[in-house]
Amino acid sequence: MTVSYNFAYLDEQSKKMIRRAILKALAIPGFQVPFGGREMPLPYGWGTGGIQLTASVIGPDDRLKVIDQGSDDTVNAISIKQFFRKTAGIAITEDTETATIIQTRHRIPETPLKKGQIMVFQVPIPEPLQFIEPKRPQTLKMHGYEEYGSMHVKLYEDIARFGRIATAFDYPVRVHQRYLMSPSPIPKYDNPKLHRSPAVLLFGAGREKRIYAVPPYTDVVSLDFEDYPFELEQWEGACAVCGSTQSFLDEIITDDTGTRVLICSDTEFCRKNAGRSRP
């Protein structure tokens, strides 16, 4: 651990400011709280929002898990883990069950979250209304007056063009029957995991300098039409490694002739599941 940095890189005043924003965000589920985003030693888009949140809530006894596209060992996940090992000297884990803080880029782990855990999401575009209304003062009013009907225009366009709701990630949700929220680029497969989750869900957008949150056991409902209800992705086949049909599968091309296999996106779940089915 380098002594020239404060614990977990950020100075205590910045952490205090971010914690206040988190408390406000938890008090108004789904509401985007502006915060004084700090410069982090990595570029925007690599998870600066998530790292600032993690740095503010982490303590010496925490065990941190970081995933990127569901995987524990991709570049982004590994560099963020190294960052916190160097600056906070805390324990790193790949085990979802024993982790106390899980920072993620695209997925919520397949293993169900528990009470006491904190999920930290790295968010690129926090404003779900941006597609409909690019002007920030207007979107603020739309949130304020709960004018969310036009969000369905995006879903309408999907059905008109593709015959079904083709939005597969960042699928808009209503939190606690009030605020419209972008669940960051998680696949819609993970949307039901947000609903009444026992864990604390924190969302941080570094570039846009916004924090929002879903407190434990809060209603999170995906938008849909009466005649086109919200549906989850389905795959024809099971994971080629562990044989699971109960997880989010990535399609991977394995050779030049276009052979494809389906493999679990959550590597930790896949490894455990493979160990269980083939003792």
């Binding site: 009013k141 009907g149 369905h152 225009v153 309408y156 366009e157 008109a160 039409f225 009466e226 005649d227």
Partner: protein, 263 residues
């Protein structure tokens, strides 16, 4: 227009002593009128005379400096200038439609024609795709756009079609008053004629009220029951359209009427 509508029912909109100042400059001054169901009112005058300022005050886009703009709502007459913003937005959204001069301002150009028509329905709470789709198809037909183009982007439409699409997108939630800011300028004469034709049909079949801001006196004569002539922010003359256009009394109106080119 030949027959004057029945003016006995209570007015939908009542504008009283409306003023709007931009700093020391006067946008419009002491304007009062009423709009009854089924009535089409024209506001004419040269550019810079305060026509659009007046319309924007009525549409809640500008806050009047003085006076009142009262809409008839189920709860009685409500004054836009005296209710909170949430209430104002609801009144404007449910009671009025607003057709802009440039379709690009009133339509979302990156969303299909059907989506543009459906947006107001969805904003009003419709959550059934089939019903939204049916309404969009019906309205495309009403404004004489081929329903087969429902999934095309408005940017692929001609100027006249865009304007008719804008009218459909505004009328789908059945507002009582349609506010139009120079809907025919920038269109060539035959396209204008078609637009006016569609508008006349809709006004008759839906008993729609309209406030039409225009500098085109021919359009005003064809569509409007009553005319208000504006100059430098004030109404200089008002009355039945034919009366004003055939027998203008004020020098400014005489000048305006005589300045129209006749082929």
């Amino acid at each position: 227009m030949t027959s004057a509508p029945d003016l006995s029912p209570p007015p939908l909109l009542k504008v009283a002593h409306l003023c709007k100042f931009f700093g020391r400059h006067m946008g419009c001054h002491d304007i009062s009128f009423e709009v009854c169901p089924g009535e089409v009112i024209g506001v004419v005058g040269e550019s810079g005379s305060g026509k659009s300022t007046l319309l924007n005050c009525i549409a809640g886009r500008l806050r009047p400096s003085n006076g009142s703009v009262c809409f008839k709502t189920p709860d009685g007459m409500e004054d836009l200038c005296r209710c909170d913003e949430a209430r104002m937005r609801r009144i404007i959204r449910t009671r009025t439609g607003y057709v802009t001069q440039h379709a690009a301002q009133g339509l979302k150009m990156h969303i299909s024609a059907g989506g543009n028509i459906g947006e107001k329905l969805m904003a009003a709470g419709t959550r059934h795709y089939g019903k939204i789709r049916d309404a969009a198809l019906m309205w495309l037909d009403k404004v004489e756009i081929d329903p087969g183009r429902i999934d095309d982007l408005p940017s692929t439409f001609s100027g006249g079609m865009q304007q008719r699409l804008q009218i459909a997108a505004n009328l789908v939630t059945a507002p009582e008053i349609l506010l139009m800011d120079e809907p025919t300028s920038g269109l060539d004469v035959s396209v204008q004629a078609r637009l006016i034709d569609v508008l006349r049909k809709l006004v008759f079949s839906l008993n729609l009220s309209m406030i039409l801001v225009t500098h085109d006196l021919a359009v005003a004569r064809l569509l409007c029951h009553r005319l208000y002539v504006m100059k430098q922010g004030e109404v200089v003359e008002s009355g039945l359209s034919d009366q004003i256009l055939d027998d203008p009394r004020k020098p400014y109106t005489q000048l305006l009427v005589s300045s129209v080119l006749k082929p």
